[in-house]
């Protein structure tokens, strides 16, 4: 099964038990808006941690109905994050979400050795894009977290993303390892990594997916372009997941999809005990809502 659009995520979570989402430093308008919308849609059961008065004020001003939602008062933002993380590590919540606080503070708590959410896996960013000009949702990793991943880190990033896609119903997602060209070039490390990842996949050292690369962006998403170049590939033109060579490429691609192609996006952090909704403060309420939806689908 593949996702045609982000709304398809609803089908995955429908009928399942509501996931408990804990919002750290909850006094943030967009986050609260998205969380309450997801609550109304029966997707999650939220727990709001933060400055109670601040939370109530925002909700009143925006007509958010928070009847029945648990609020834990903790005015100190650092403490509210710690509390939220501890709730997850003690299995009282299924999803962690960032409110009005910097990402680094939250991640520091996530990585805490005693009560954090470490699993031994690398943390990586995973995003789904709904673009009108592509025939299905396309996943992209890592556009926000790992700066210049080496081969071992790329393996971990692919494994995180494939694990998530498997949970979303993709039994064998098609993974394109992105390069500037589809040829192997010793001077472009990304193309060498791509060759290695392909071979490891062929040898079943990276499982549950089909990897091909290097593929240039056009070959990865356009069958016509791949055929034009004579590339024989199971992935080319039908990519489910794009693996980025580094954060610069990833971030620019992500932002150009959103700004120029008017893509809808949902994103989470993978690799911790639970999915983490860590959208940027500038993301729209819709993006935050879709990310919550994704986190609920991924935490099954």
């Amino acid at each position: 099964m593949v996702l045609k659009n982000l709304n398809d995520l609803k089908r995955i979570v429908e009928g399942g038990p509501r996931k408990k989402l804990v919002l750290a430093a909850a006094q943030d308008q967009h986050s609260l808006g998205a969380v309450i919308r997801a609550y109304k849609a029966n997707i999650i059961d939220p727990i709001l941690i933060g400055d109670k008065e601040g939370i109530q004020n925002i909700c009143e001003a925006n007509n958010y109905d928070i009847t029945g939602i648990r609020i834990v008062h903790e005015p100190n933002t650092d403490m509210s994050v710690e509390l939220a993380v501890r709730m997850v590590s003690s299995k009282q919540a299924d999803i962690l979400m960032k409110g009005k606080i910097g990402s680094s503070v939250l991640l520091k708590c996530v990585l805490n050795k005693e009560w954090g959410l470490r699993t031994g896996n690398l943390l990586s960013h995973f995003a789904l894009f709904e673009v009108e000009t592509y025939h299905k949702v396309i996943a992209v990793t890592d556009v926000a977290m790992n700066i210049a991943p080496n081969l071992q880190e790329k393996i971990a990033i692919v494994n995180n993303a494939v694990g998530c896609l498997n949970k979303l119903g993709y039994t064998m997602p098609k993974v394109a390892v992105l390069g500037a060209v589809e040829m192997v070039n010793e001077n472009m490390e990304a193309t060498l990594h791509a060759a290695l990842l392909s071979k490891m996949n062929q040898r079943d050292q990276i499982k549950n997916c089909i990897i091909d690369g290097p593929l240039a962006f056009d070959n990865a998403v356009s069958l016509e372009s791949a055929q034009h170049k004579g590339i024989k590939s199971e992935v080319a033109g039908d990519t489910d997941l794009l693996l980025m060579p580094d954060i610069e490429v990833g971030n620019v691609l992500y932002k150009s999809l959103v700004f120029f192609a008017k893509a809808k996006v949902a994103s989470i952090i993978l690799g911790a005990m639970v999915p983490i909704v860590l959208t940027s403060r500038s993301d729209s309420e819709q993006a935050k809502f879709d990310s919550i939806l994704l986190s609920a689908a991924a935490s099954r």
């Binding site: 071992q152 040829m183 192997v184 010793e186 060498l192 060759a195 290695l196 392909s198 071979k199 050292q205």
Partner: protein, 293 residues
């Protein structure tokens, strides 16, 4: 192989540096008799005559060019090839190093511009269902990625001369798994992708593969590894001289292998064989060089 060369119905001229041992002269005599070569023996005429007498061969069958030392004989053989007086150069009783020095001489040698000097051998083994080409059992100690690519291309070219249009080439390692502890496996993965993208042409390539997976179909079935070579390799590419050299010598010693090999990267075929090699192996080298000329 012999049949193919006989079918060419062409006589190649071989310039042999310091050809005064009985093995070399015996091999040349055999090839002259078959009508595939004309041999030019470069060296000390008295010693040719002695060797011919010892073998009971008519020395008139050969052209003789006098030369005083091994080094001069090597340079002369190379010079003849450069001038078109000979099509093939062969090493006689000269040390390999001295001989190759003449071949690799920047001004007067036989190297193609910027070419990598490497060695490809074809081995006939009773226990394998076809000829097996191996590279590089003689020249490059620890090939890097670029050298491995060229080695593959030389071997593919040779296999194609034998009529194998798309030879199966196995990149040999200790296991089929990728591991950063085995840097060669990294090179191999890159090469496979290059073959997949048409950057290395005319072959079916897979690696890393161990020798079983490369040459034994049953091992593929037992291990359940899907490989495009599938136990039917035409070419084995080895990661180092220390692995390829004992491999071929083991085949000669223990498995009745017969070998023919050639230097690649030169304008014209160059035959280099260990001085202790048998007459038969030397003869096969001559036949191979005719096929590649």
């Amino acid at each position: 192989m012999e049949e193919q060369v006989l079918a060419l119905k062409k006589k190649h001229r071989i310039a042999v540096a310091w050809a005064q041992d009985t093995n070399t002269i015996g091999a040349l005599y055999k090839a002259v008799n078959k009508g595939i070569i004309e041999a030019i023996l470069i060296g000390d005429p008295d010693r040719f005559l002695l060797a011919c007498k010892a073998l009971d061969i008519d020395d008139k069958l050969f052209t003789i060019t006098e030369s005083a030392t091994e080094t001069k004989a090597s340079s002369e053989a190379v010079r003849q090839a450069r001038n078109g007086e000979a099509d093939i150069v062969m090493k006689g009783l000269v040390g390999t190093e001295k001989f190759l020095k003449a071949v690799m001489d920047k001004e007067n040698g036989l190297m193609l511009p910027n070419a990598v000097l490497s060695y490809v051998a074809a081995i006939e083994i009773p226990h394998y269902h076809k000829l097996l080409f191996i590279t590089d059992p003689a020249v490059i100690p620890f090939p890097d990625l670029d050298q491995k690519i060229v080695m593959a291309e030389y071997a593919i070219e040779m296999a194609r001369r034998f009529g194998i249009e798309k030879p199966k080439i196995a990149l040999i390692g200790a296991s089929e798994k990728m591991s950063r502890h085995f840097p060669n496996s990294v090179d191999y993965a890159v090469m496979c992708k290059m073959a997949g993208r048409g950057q290395i042409k005319n072959c079916i390539m897979d690696g890393p593969l161990d020798l079983f997976l490369a040459c034994d179909k049953k091992s593929n079935e037992i291990k359940g590894v899907e490989t495009s070579v599938n136990g039917d390799a035409d070419i084995l590419l080895f990661p180092s001289l220390e692995s390829s050299n004992p491999f071929y010598k083991g085949l000669m010693l223990f498995a009745d292998g017969v070998l023919a090999g050639l230097i690649r990267g030169t304008e014209k075929p160059v035959i280099v064989m260990s001085r202790s090699e048998s007459e038969m192996s030397k003869y096969y080298c001559i036949v191979l060089s005719c096929l590649m000329a």
